[in-house]
């Protein structure tokens, strides 16, 4: 074996091919990940805004962060974000994902597959179209589907539910997309549970609930943990759906949307790049920390063995 490797080395003297293979990726990662991280941190230390322009700005040190700490609305945005992430995660990205994957793996194969395909639709539908659907489901009478089919037959007062129950709607809109991620992962994990274990539990007369508690859940512990960490991060920072649905009205301005509005879009036309970047910097730091923890947790070293071609 060693001899052959030497032969390869002789034929191909150490030209850094690898460098050119990696060059385009490196360039893009530097341009659109590294540089932006650095820019975020640097600009968060300035008072740069559309009033100061790109030249007349000043260093303000940690003032932007102090401002974040002092502002009365900070607590609102913070707790809204925490509540939104926790509720969506618990009820949809984990809860609903578990329920759907357990049911669809225990009914006939075709039906299960059909329902999982339905659940994937929100994920592949263009965001704006998808959010429009929800807007109309919740629209006021006589238009809205919920009002026509559920609220009015029950004799309750119809209203515009997107405005009236805005928190519920941002959870629903994101939850129905988010659930499919866990659903796919849990489904393949449940299908991988050895058949004899399922049969043994059946022979022992375990009820469905007992099977879920003592067979299925222990088996999908890792996927469960993985989906939780991964989805926490993406829920915390994604704001696209909320922006299209309410644009932060009706108390739905989560932290990431707040940052985006301050820096790139607001009604006054005064773009506060410094302050907006400070808000984003908070998320960037949390993202980096969680990313590293996540890397530690998921047995990374097993995945990065040396390539065999040169260690044969």
């Amino acid at each position: 074996m060693g001899k052959e490797t030497e032969e390869i080395r002789k034929i191909k003297p150490g030209r850094p091919d690898w460098f050119w293979f990696l060059f385009p990726s490196l360039l893009l990662i530097v341009l659109f990940f590294f540089l932006p991280i650095v820019i975020t941190l640097i600009i968060s230390g300035t008072n740069m805004s559309s009033t100061t322009g790109f030249h007349a700005w000043k260093w303000v040190g940690l003032n932007n962060f102090r401002k974040i700490a002092i502002l009365p609305e900070t607590a609102d945005h913070f707790w809204l974000t925490v509540k939104y992430v926790a509720v969506t995660l618990a009820f949809f990205n984990i809860g609903m994902a578990l329920v759907v994957s357990i049911i669809t793996t225990h009914i006939s194969r075709g039906t299960g597959f059909f329902f999982r395909a339905l659940w994937l639709l929100p994920r592949i539908t263009p965001t704006v179209t998808y959010v429009m659907m929800w807007k109309f489901l919740g629209a006021n009478a006589p238009y809205g589907v919920f009002n026509q089919l559920i609220i009015q037959p029950l004799g309750l007062a119809p209203q515009n539910w997107v405005a009236a129950s805005s928190f519920l709607f941002i959870v629903l809109v994101n939850g129905y997309i988010g659930a499919s991620f866990g659903m796919i992962i849990f489904t393949s994990a449940i299908e991988a549970i050895p058949k004899d274990i399922t049969i043994a539990s059946l022979v022992d007369g375990a009820s469905m609930l007992q099977r879920i508690r003592y067979v299925i859940l222990p088996y999908i512990k890792w996927p469960l943990l993985f989906v939780t960490t991964y989805q926490t991060l993406s829920l915390m920072t994604s704001f696209e759906q909320i922006m299209v649905l309410t644009d932060g009205q009706f108390n739905t301005e989560v932290w990431s949307l707040w940052a985006y509005h301050k820096a790139l879009q607001n009604y006054w036309g005064n773009f506060q790049w410094g302050f907006g970047n400070a808000l984003a910097a908070v998320l960037v730091v949390v993202g980096i920390i969680l990313g590293i923890i996540y890397l530690r947790y998921f047995k990374f070293n097993e995945l990065v063995q040396d390539p065999k071609i040169e260690s044969l």
Partner: protein
């Protein structure tokens, strides 16, 4: 006893249907609305409020007329959307194939750090960087020719199709690299070793021997990237401001913000127009796609 058993049998189905109801109703609504003058719940209604009347094709006139909202043809916007989708697909697939191969098959200093980096970036919330990316694009825009002097895509700077494509590629790259590396890992070593011993260069080995072996992976990544590009909203919305460079998503968003529920017919039609190619694609390629929705993270779970 019998009823009890029937209940236990049908309970999962009932629960599943109730949970799935919003999805079913939502998509039903969109299809019915596009062919109705107005709609109450799921029932088409005509101008004077008669139920089950008012079926029409007038919501689809946007296909031939300029859209009122942006005063440009829908086909120009479709073309823009297509350019983004195709550009993103070609870019992500090609660049990920190169990097994935090097990371899977070549030993070089810095390989492990680079791999951990891709993995961290894969989970890194890239939307938080949008504000800073705005600055990078403005800076690129000032580079002559590359910035804003390229036909069709405009260039790679702020307010160009190329810029949007470039940002989209970059943000999708960690997933692509990780996926391609996984596929290259599974190709037989003997095949490659034979090629190298026979004096094939790394580049030829990559292109002629290795790439054909991972076609299923390439297919999966291509389909996924195309869909992401076709439906993307936030990046085009943030970085392309002129109407001539709008995409279907940004048009729809603009229309939605200025209409009342009475004339959602046209809106739904535009939405369905954008959704249809994706659904058709999805029906035929589900197998590949399921691979990537979970496969992008398979190695890590």
């Amino acid at each position: 006893m019998k009823i009890n058993k029937l209940f236990t049998k049908s309970f999962p189905y009932i629960l599943l249907i109730i949970l799935t109801l919003p999805i079913i109703l939502g998509y039903l609504w969109i299809v019915i609305t596009t062919f109705s003058t107005r709609i109450y719940g799921l029932i088409p209604v005509d101008q004077s409020g008669n139920y089950f009347r008012g079926l029409t094709l007038s919501n689809w006139t946007f296909l031939t007329d300029k859209t009122k909202t942006l005063n440009v043809s829908i086909w120009l916007l479709t073309f823009n959307t297509l350019i983004i989708a195709v550009g993103l697909t070609v870019g992500v697939v090609l660049i990920s194939m190169m990097a994935g191969y090097a990371l899977s098959r070549i030993k070089f200093p810095g390989r492990k750090p680079f791999l951990s980096l891709t993995l961290i970036l894969h989970s890194f919330p890239s939307v938080t960087l949008l504000i800073a990316i705005y600055f990078v694009l403005r800076w690129i825009a000032r580079i002559p020719i590359l910035g804003r002097g390229i036909p069709i895509i405009g260039g790679f700077g702020y307010n160009t199709l190329g810029g949007v494509i470039l940002v989209s590629i970059a943000l999708q790259l960690p997933l692509g690299i990780w996926l391609m590396k996984g596929f290259f890992d599974n190709v037989s070593w003997d095949l490659e070793r034979a090629a190298l011993i026979d004096g094939c260069s790394r580049w030829r080995t990559w292109w002629q021997i290795m790439v054909p072996q991972i076609m299923p992976g390439i297919a999966a990544l291509s389909i996924f990237s195309f869909m992401e590009g076709w439906k993307s909203f936030l990046i085009p919305y943030s970085f392309m401001t002129s109407h001539a460079r709008a995409t279907l998503s940004t048009l729809l968003n603009e229309m939605m913000s200025e209409s009342s529920p009475t004339d959602y017919g046209t809106l739904a039609a535009v939405g369905l127009f954008q959704l249809l190619p994706i659904i058709i694609f999805y029906l035929f390629t589900q197998k590949y796609l399921l691979n990537i929705f979970s496969g992008g993270v398979k190695g890590t779970a």
